[in-house]
C-alpha cells in the first residue's frame, strides 16, 4: 500500500463519518426542536398532501426563488440540476452491478457537469457584481463556490483532457467497503478532485450547505394551514397551561 492510497483511504473514512454523523446530528436537532406556533407563509396548503406538493415544488423547481429573482433562479437551478445529474452519474463508481437507469444517464451526466460549472460561474458573477449580494457575502461564501467550481473543473478535465484509470478508482472505493486499501492512480487531477470532494463532505454539516436538510424543516413551508380546525400545541407550551 502506497502512502498516497493509505492517506486517501483514511481521508475518505473520516469524511464519510463526519458527513453522516454531522448530518444525522443536525437532522435530529431540527426534528427535536419544537415549532410552537403555526407560521406557514400563507396562502398555504390546507392539507398535508398539498404541503408535500408545496415542498416538492420548492425542492425540485425552487418555486419561491423563482418568484424572487429570475437570474439567481436560472443559475441556481442549472447548478443544482447539474450537480444532481453528476451525482447520479458518479454512482457507477460505488455500485456494482450498475443499475440500468444509472447507465442510461451517463451521457447526460457530462452535460450536468458543464451545467454545474456554468451555474456556479453565474452565481459567483452575481456575488461580485451586484452590490447587494456583495455586501452579504463572507469569505466562506466565495470559498464554497471556489471549492465546487474546482471540483467541477477538475472532474471535467479528467473527462476531456487527462483521463485517469476509472477501473482502478472504482476498485479503490470498492476496497474501502471491505476495509482494504487498493492502489489509487496518482494522477494529480484525480487526487485534487478527490481531495476537494472530501473537503466538501467534511464542511457540509458545519456550513450553509445545511440549507439542503434545512428546507425540509422550515416551518413557513412545511406546516399545514389549519390552526382553527386543529389545536397545535407543543410540550413546553403545554406546561405553561398547567401552571
Amino acid at each position: 500500500m502506497s502512502f498516497l492510497s493509505g492517506f486517501y483511504a483514511s481521508l475518505y473514512y473520516v469524511a464519510v463519518v463526519i458527513l453522516i454523523a454531522g448530518l444525522v446530528n443536525k437532522i435530529v436537532q431540527y426534528a427535536r426542536t419544537p415549532a410552537p406556533l403555526k407560521i406557514p407563509t400563507t396562502p398555504a396548503p390546507t392539507s398535508s398532501g398539498k404541503v408535500t406538493l408545496r415542498m416538492v415544488r420548492e425542492v425540485v423547481f425552487f418555486e419561491s426563488l423563482f418568484k424572487g429573482n429570475k437570474w439567481i433562479w436560472i443559475f441556481g437551478w442549472v447548478f443544482h440540476f447539474g450537480l444532481f445529474l453528476v451525482t447520479l452519474r458518479h454512482l457507477r463508481y460505488f455500485i456494482d452491478p450498475v443499475w440500468l437507469p444509472i447507465t442510461f444517464i451517463q451521457p447526460f451526466g457530462i452535460y450536468g457537469g458543464i451545467a454545474m460549472v456554468v451555474g456556479l460561474a453565474g452565481l459567483w458573477a452575481r456575488r461580485v457584481l451586484v452590490d447587494r449580494v456583495r455586501y452579504i457575502t463572507s469569505p466562506s461564501d466565495h470559498l464554497i463556490l471556489l471549492l465546487l467550481l474546482l471540483i467541477g473543473l477538475s472532474g471535467l478535465s479528467m473527462k476531456f483532457a487527462a483521463h485517469t484509470d476509472i477501473v482502478a478508482v472504482k476498485n479503490f472505493f470498492f476496497g474501502l467497503y471491505q476495509l482494504q486499501v487498493n492502489p489509487l492512480p496518482s494522477d494529480p487531477l484525480l487526487l485534487l478532485h478527490l481531495l476537494l470532494v472530501a473537503v466538501l463532505m467534511i464542511i457540509f454539516p458545519y456550513s450553509k450547505l445545511l440549507h439542503a436538510p434545512g428546507l425540509f424543516f422550515s416551518p413557513s413551508r412545511n406546516q399545514v394551514d389549519n390552526p382553527r380546525e386543529k389545536r397545535h400545541i407543543v410540550p413546553w407550551a403545554e406546561r405553561l397551561e398547567q401552571e
Binding site: 419544537p34 419561491s64 458545519y206 422550515s218 390552526p227
Partner: protein, 512 residues
C-alpha cells in the same frame, strides 16, 4: 405636505432598486422602556450587569424552543433573493434593512457562540462577539422590521426575518433593553384592558354616542352593546375602533351588519383589545397572557361565537395562534370557526343574499385595497387558501361601484407593509415610518394617476393609523384611507331605514 426634518422619498412611476447606503438608518432607534414598563411584563428594568452572558443563554434557550430560529439561522445561503424585498430597504437604502442583512446581525452572534465554524474561524464566516456595539445595532435594526413576512415569500427556504426580529426583541427584553412603545402598551392592556387605556365608562359613553349617531342617520335603533351576558357573539376589535377616524366608521359598520343579521352580540371591557403586542416582542408568555383575556371574557359573557374586527396582526394572532394560546374552544358553537373575521361574517351574509346595498352611496370614491401584511401572509379567511385576498375584495365590490387594484407586484401575497407594523407605530420612529411607506405610497400614487383612484380601503388598525399620519408627507390627504366596513356601513340599507329619496333599486348582491 407635512413637514419633515428628513428627506421624504420621491415617488416614481416604476419601482427601482436603490444602491446601498451603509449606515443610512443607524441613528434610528425607538425610545427605550423605563423600568416601570418592563416590570409588569416580567423583564428586568434596565440593562443587567452580566447582560452578555444572559443574552447568549437566552439565545440558546430560544434555539431550543423555536425550530424556526434554529433552521433559519443555519440555512441562509446568501443567495440575495430577499435583498430587494423589504420596504424599509427600498425606502432607506440601508443594507442592514435588507432582510438577510438584518438576519446577519443575529446570525453573526449565533455563529460565534453556537457553531464550530464561528468558534474557530470567526472572520471566515462573518461571526462576531456580542459586544455593546452589536447590541446597539440590534436595538436599532430589529426595530426597523415590521415583521411583515414579505421576505419569507421570496426566500427559497422560507426564512422569515420576522421570526428573527421577534427572537432578538425577546433576548433584548430579557436583559433589560425593552422598547417603550410596545411594552408600555402591553402594560395598559394588563391594567385597563386595551392598548389605548380607555376605561369601561369611556367605552360605554362612546358606544352610546354611536347608537345615537346611527339612529339620527338612519332612523333605526342599531345597538352597540358591551358586557352583555348571554349574547351570541363576542366581538373583539382593536381599541382604535372606539374613537379614531376612520376606524370608528368600521365599528359602526360591524354593528349594522350584526343588526341586519339579527344576531345578538357584545363587546367586552375585559377584552376590549384585539391587538396582541406580545407577538411583536416575541414573548410567548405575554402573548399568551393577553390572549387569555379573550378566553376569560368569552366564558364570563357566556357567548357562543367569537368574531374579530378589522386588524392585521390581531387577526394573525387570532387565526393562527388563538387556538394554541387560549384554546381549546370546545365550549363555543362548533358550527362556526373560532374565531371568525368580521369580513368572513359579512361575506357569508352577502352570499346568502341577506344584506341589501345601495352602492351609489360610495360613488364619491374610487377605491383600491391595501392587503395588510399579517392578513395576507400569516392567516386566511374562508375555507380556501387566498380567501384573505378575495373576501375583502368581494365585500368592496358588493358595496362600491368603482374599484381598481394596485400593481400586482404590490398586492396579495406580495403586498407591501404600510410601514408602521410590528410595534413601530410610534412617533419616535417617524422617519422610518415615512420612508418605509414609500413602496405602498408609490403603488397608490400610480393607481391614482392611472385609474383615478381616490381612496384606499384597509382592514387593519395599524395600517389605518399609519396611513392617516403618513399620507400627508407624500402630498396626499389623510382622509384617503378608509375602513372596509365603513364602505359596508355607507352602502348597507337597514330594514326600516328612512332614506332621503328612493330612486335606487337596491342590489341585493350577486355572489361576488
Amino acid at each position: 405636505m407635512a413637514k419633515a426634518d428628513f428627506e421624504v422619498p420621491l415617488l416614481k412611476p416604476y419601482a427601482e432598486i436603490p444602491a446601498l447606503e451603509p449606515g443610512a438608518m443607524a441613528h434610528s432607534r425607538p425610545f427605550v422602556a423605563k423600568a416601570d414598563f418592563q416590570g409588569p411584563l416580567g423583564f428586568p428594568g434596565e440593562l443587567v450587569e452580566d447582560w452578555q452572558e444572559r443574552a447568549i443563554d437566552k439565545m440558546g434557550e430560544l434555539l431550543g424552543k423555536y425550530r424556526s430560529l434554529r433552521v433559519y439561522l443555519d440555512s441562509c445561503v446568501k443567495c440575495g433573493s430577499c435583498t430587494d424585498k423589504c420596504h424599509y430597504y427600498l425606502g432607506t437604502k440601508d443594507p442592514n434593512n435588507m432582510p438577510v442583512g438584518r438576519q446577519d446581525l443575529m446570525r453573526k452572534v449565533y455563529r460565534r457562540y453556537f457553531t464550530l465554524a464561528g468558534r474557530f474561524f470567526p472572520k471566515l464566516v462573518g461571526a462576531s462577539d456580542f459586544t455593546r456595539e452589536v447590541l446597539d445595532e440590534w436595538y436599532s435594526y430589529f426595530h426597523q422590521c415590521s415583521q411583515c413576512r414579505r421576505c419569507s415569500v421570496f426566500c427559497p427556504y422560507g426564512i422569515d426575518t420576522a421570526e428573527i426580529s421577534m427572537a432578538a426583541r425577546e433576548i433584548m427584553d430579557s436583559i433589560g433593553v425593552g422598547q417603550k412603545y410596545c411594552n408600555e402598551i402591553i402594560g395598559k392592556v394588563y391594567k385597563i384592558g386595551n392598548n389605548l387605556g380607555l376605561p369601561g365608562p369611556a367605552l360605554r359613553d362612546t358606544l352610546e354616542g354611536l347608537e345615537e349617531d346611527v339612529f339620527d342617520d338612519t332612523g333605526v335603533a342599531v345597538r352597540y352593546p358591551i358586557d352583555e351576558e348571554g349574547a351570541e357573539i363576542l366581538l373583539v376589535t382593536p381599541s382604535a375602533d372606539f374613537f379614531a377616524e376612520p376606524h370608528v366608521d368600521g365599528l359602526i359598520g360591524y354593528g349594522k351588519v350584526f343588526h341586519e343579521a339579527g344576531v345578538s352580540w357584545t363587546l367586552s371591557t375585559h377584552a376590549s383589545e384585539a391587538a396582541n403586542f406580545g407577538m411583536f416582542i416575541g414573548s410567548y408568555a405575554n402573548m399568551r397572557r393577553l390572549a387569555q383575556r379573550i378566553r376569560e371574557a368569552a366564558i364570563a359573557l357566556k357567548v357562543k361565537r367569537i368574531v374579530f374586527g378589522e386588524c392585521g396582526h390581531a387577526w394573525r394572532v387570532a387565526y393562527s395562534f388563538l387556538n394554541t394560546l387560549a384554546g381549546p374552544w370546545d365550549f363555543l358553537d362548533p358550527r362556526y370557526p373560532v374565531p371568525q373575521h368580521i369580513c368572513e361574517f359579512t361575506h357569508d351574509l352577502i352570499q346568502q343574499g341577506k344584506l341589501r346595498f345601495d352602492k351609489s352611496q360610495n360613488d364619491d370614491m374610487v377605491l383600491t385595497f391595501h392587503d395588510s401584511c399579517n392578513v395576507a401572509r400569516a392567516s386566511r379567511m374562508g375555507d380556501r387558501p387566498g380567501g384573505q385576498f378575495e373576501i375583502p375584495r368581494a365585500i368592496i365590490r358588493a358595496t362600491c361601484n368603482h374599484f381598481f387594484d394596485m400593481e400586482e407586484e404590490t398586492i396579495r401575497e406580495r403586498t407591501f407593509c404600510c410601514g408602521g407594523g410590528g410595534g413601530l407605530l410610534t412617533d419616535d420612529l417617524m422617519e422610518l415610518r415615512v420612508k418605509g411607506a414609500m413602496p405602498r405610497m408609490q403603488a397608490l400614487n400610480n393607481v391614482m394617476k392611472e385609474k383615478g383612484v381616490t381612496h384606499m380601503a384597509a382592514i387593519c388598525a395599524i395600517c389605518k393609523s399609519q396611513f392617516t399620519k403618513v399620507l400627508p408627507y407624500y402630498g396626499m390627504e389623510m382622509e384617503q384611507i378608509v375602513s372596509v366596513h365603513q364602505l359596508v356601513s355607507n352602502a348597507l340599507i337597514l330594514t326600516g331605514q328612512d332614506r332621503d329619496e328612493e330612486d335606487e333599486e337596491e342590489t341585493s348582491d350577486e355572489a361576488a
